[in-house]
């Protein structure tokens, strides 16, 4: 589910804007102090499942009995355990439990304190000051201080895959051991999401980077400590007794073992037989059957990922908006979603799902499967006998399925769809070189509208492979990026989104659900809207 390689995988936060909104709203008052709230927030929100968990599963009983180790099956092997240099979802499943970020998306996906207890914004919106939690220890015993934040952020900017997220950051400085200033070139209302939205922005221990062990022996501040990785034993983590939420009884598990089972069917069988306690995904066609099975719980929440395809606007006739609109009109999104996801998805003509209440725009200008309307548009454009080289990849099999459905849906228009199915590495090369009439994939882990639109639709941006260029959209996206009033910002994005949909820069298809499954013995775990895999409050019942 990862965009991988040049596509940083970030964990999405559907509703996260709440905090940004709060921060922005308050800035009339010159400075925002979330500090007061933060103290309690830490305990209440972050401790939510922790509180219930601690009472429900007394850690003492577990300690007395044999170690409580959760076996979690993931679909692929982490490529590296260096959080700044990986884009693999498998890596983040592990690292989510090893590392911390300055702040983090909470259960409702709004940003809550983590390593930073509070933060303030200067009157000119150009300096964010983070007050760090004291007494936090890395897994190697060293205390976490402001220099670690500076080091981590500077490393991400210099060599990390997510350096672009610091585009508006001028400098990061340690004021003292427990205070960090982030200075910006332009106001960035979505800074928290940018610099702490997922574990790709993790705070790492400097010494592990310097001695080169970070990729194989990650040292963080999170609830679990990395122990070992081996082909037979998988990845072994053990509870971090010095965790900064140890006072709340967290983590509850004594350890986690991640095993890798690439075949989805085998993985499911392993869960059924009790060989593993938790699996990271369920094939869509198995969700219904599995939900009614005794002993297994399926966690399913609407996700913020979106599936789309784009036509190459550097090539005629796809540079003609009428041709793109014709295709957007002729397809049937509901059928595509049903075909690929067996109902575990919601058709959408825009990027941001309805579950993202803050930024969702209810806008669906296209008829579904309107062949006559599409034909009229094509006739108007003077295009006939259209042939589309459609770039997909078997590494994300749903793209192959969807392309076949689209081929069938476009057939009545006399459009020939030549599906080009290549491995993902080749796919990325071909996409990058513009060798396609159309390509299809998904974007995952978005929360802020800037993530959804800027890199993909702003003229000349790195992810704008389809060659879209609309000066009005550029102006709106640029303005929205620095607009600190959330209502005004939303208005700007709504306008831009409508134009992007009208111009069919991307042809949006649907938002899939996030799905995990686990045995009934597992408690204190919930599938999250941002797909982050957090076992901090998880326990096993005998």
């Amino acid at each position: 589910m990862t965009r991988s390689a040049i596509r940083p995988k970030w964990v999405l936060m559907l509703l996260a804007i709440a905090l940004v909104a709060a921060a922005c709203g308050d800035d009339d008052a010159e400075t925002t102090t979330t500090a007061a709230a933060a103290g309690t927030t830490t305990v209440t929100t972050a401790g939510d499942d922790g509180d219930t968990a601690t009472t429900a599963a007394p850690a003492t009983t577990a300690a007395a009995a044999e170690p409580m180790v959760l076996v979690a099956a993931q679909g692929s092997e982490p490529d590296t355990l260096d959080p700044h240099l990986t884009s693999a979802y498998a890596s983040f499943q592990v690292l989510e439990n090893v590392y911390d970020t300055l702040v983090q998306p909470g259960d409702d996906l709004s940003m809550e304190p983590a390593l930073a207890e509070s933060w303030t914004i200067s009157a000119d919106n150009l300096t964010w000051t983070f007050v760090l939690r004291q007494g936090v220890k890395f897994h190697n015993g060293r205390e976490f201080v402001a220099d670690d934040v500076v080091f981590s952020f500077e490393r991400i900017i210099a060599e990390g895959l997510n350096g672009w997220r610091f585009g508006s950051v001028e400098s990061v400085t340690a004021v003292d051991d427990y205070t960090v200033d982030v200075t910006l070139t332009v106001p960035s209302p979505n800074l928290l999401v940018s610099v702490a939205g997922f574990k790709g922005m993790a705070i790492v221990a400097k010494e592990t980077v310097e001695d080169g062990t970070i990729a194989t022996n990650p040292v963080g501040t999170g609830p679990f400590r990395f122990v070992s990785q081996s082909p037979d034993g998988g990845i072994v983590l053990e509870a971090n007794s010095d965790f900064w939420r140890a006072g709340e009884g967290l983590p509850i598990l004594d350890g986690i073992r991640f095993v890798q089972i690439p075949d989805a069917g085998t993985k499911l069988t392993a869960l059924r037989t009790g060989e593993v306690d938790w699996i990271d995904a369920v094939p869509p066609q198995d969700v219904d059957g599995l939900s009614s099975e005794a002993g297994i719980t399926v966690g399913r929440v609407p996700g913020g990922d979106y599936h789309y395809f784009a036509l190459n606007q550097n090539r005629p006739p796809f540079n003609d908006v009428r041709v793109r609109r014709a295709i957007a009109t002729a397809i049937n999104r509901t059928e595509i979603a049903e075909a690929a996801q067996f109902g575990a998805a919601t058709a959408n003509q825009t990027a941001i799902p309805a579950s993202n209440g803050s930024w969702h725009l209810d806008y669906a200008p296209y008829q579904s499967a309107d062949i006559a309307g599409a034909q009229a548009l094509l006739d108007d454009a003077g295009v006939a006998d259209l042939s589309i080289d459609f770039l997909v990849t078997s590494d994300f099999p749903e793209t192959v399925t969807q392309a076949q459905v689209i081929a069938a849906q476009l057939a009545p228009l006399g459009i020939t769809v030549n599906i080009v199915d290549v491995d993902f590495g080749t796919w990325l090369d071909m996409e990058g070189n513009g060798e396609f009439d159309a390509f299809m994939l998904s974007w995952i882990g978005n929360i802020d509208p800037d993530d959804f639109y800027y890199a993909q639709h702003h003229t000349g941006e790195w992810a704008n492979f389809q060659g879209y260029s609309n000066p009005d959209v550029d102006a709106l996206l640029d303005a929205a990026r620095v607009e600190t009033d959330s209502a005004a910002r939303k208005a700007l994005y709504d306008q831009a989104a409508a134009m992007i949909v009208d111009d069919a820069s991307y042809i949006y298809l649907y938002n899939p659900d996030n799905i995990n499954a686990w045995s009934d013995a597992v408690g204190g775990y919930a599938t999250r809207g941002d797909n982050a895999i957090r076992f901090v409050g998880t326990f096993l019942q005998p």
């Binding site: 198995d286 049903e338 076949q404 459905v405």
Partner: protein, 304 residues
């Protein structure tokens, strides 16, 4: 022990049966080979008439009727997009046979001349050509095909080229070996001493005498070429969707094996039947063409 005088098995020394007739008779005496021939004939017929026979189009998507089991309207059931598996298996037979025949044809067209030249001229020519073949031969066949497709890009045409290239050295080797043996025969020396040109010797005198192993190898290679095509399709390197190929259908069926086993079973059976038929025919041909085997077959025929 005793043979009825009227059986065709009876052979009179003074009236020898022609060689081709003899081969044919040995071949059809082999029941498995006959069965293979019949199945292959039906397969070819099916491939030629595929569009007429197939009850549905290959990409007739019908989501509400997805993953339904075999029934009167869909004999082989439907796949995850509600497409008729029978129709797709039928249309895919064309791909398999086409790739098989063209790829092996390619291998023949290059391998046999290389083997002829190398075996006849020997010396440096032989060394250079055969070392080139050895290089190709040193890679596992399917791995080399994947590597070639990685360079050329996926697709049915490139798959044919890749498979053809992989099988070329086999034909070159087999041809060369036979040519070396035949070249020493007295009649070749006689032809040479009569002043026959190389071309004439190679094509008139050597080629006909090395055909037997080539024919056997061709039949067996067809089976392996079809298997290779299925393997490449399984990996997504062959025919591109929505066009069906047995290997690709197997790969798709794998994900639905619990809900819809027919998605994988029928294409799998199709591969099995086709490859086995070619193998049976190939074995039969080898028995019929191989002089060393012939006596065994005959004695078997006598004792039945």
């Amino acid at each position: 022990m005793t043979v009825a005088p009227s059986t065709p098995m009876e052979r009179l020394p003074e009236k020898p049966v022609s060689r081709s007739r003899e081969i044919w008779q040995t071949l059809i005496a082999n029941r498995l080979a006959v069965a293979g021939l019949v199945v292959l004939a039906l397969l070819v017929l099916m491939a030629v008439l595929a569009e007429v026979i197939a009850p549905f189009g290959i990409n007739d998507i019908d989501i509400p009727n997805r993953l339904t089991g075999p029934s009167m309207s869909h004999w082989f059931g439907t796949d995850d997009l509600g497409r008729d598996v029978l129709s797709r298996v039928i249309i895919a037979s064309r791909v398999s046979l086409q790739v098989g025949f063209i790829a092996v044809g390619f291998a023949l067209a290059f391998g046999v001349p290389i083997g002829l030249v190398a075996g006849y001229y020997r010396g440096k020519t032989d060394s250079i050509l055969m070392r080139l073949m050895d290089i190709l031969f040193s890679f596992p066949a399917i791995l080399l095909a994947i590597a070639i497709l990685a360079v050329l890009g996926p697709g049915i045409r490139n798959a044919m080229v890749a498979i053809g290239l992989v099988y070329t050295p086999i034909f070159a080797r087999i041809t060369r070996g036979s040519v070396i043996v035949v070249s020493e025969e007295v009649y070749i020396r006689a032809a040479r001493s009569l002043g026959a040109r190389d071309g004439r010797i190679i094509f008139r005198h050597i080629l006909p005498n090395v055909l037997a192993p080539i024919i056997v190898q061709t039949t067996l290679s067809l089976a392996f070429a079809i298997l290779s095509e299925a393997a490449l399709s399984f990996l997504g390197l062959g025919v591109q969707p929505p066009n069906p190929a047995w290997g690709r259908m197997l790969a798709e069926g794998r994900n639905f094996f619990q809900q819809a086993p027919w998605m994988g079973i029928f294409p799998g059976v199709a591969i099995l039947v086709t490859v086995m038929s070619f193998n049976f025919v190939g074995d039969g041909l080898r028995d019929a063409l191989d002089p060393k085997q012939k006596s065994v077959i005959e004695s078997r025929g006598q004792s039945v």
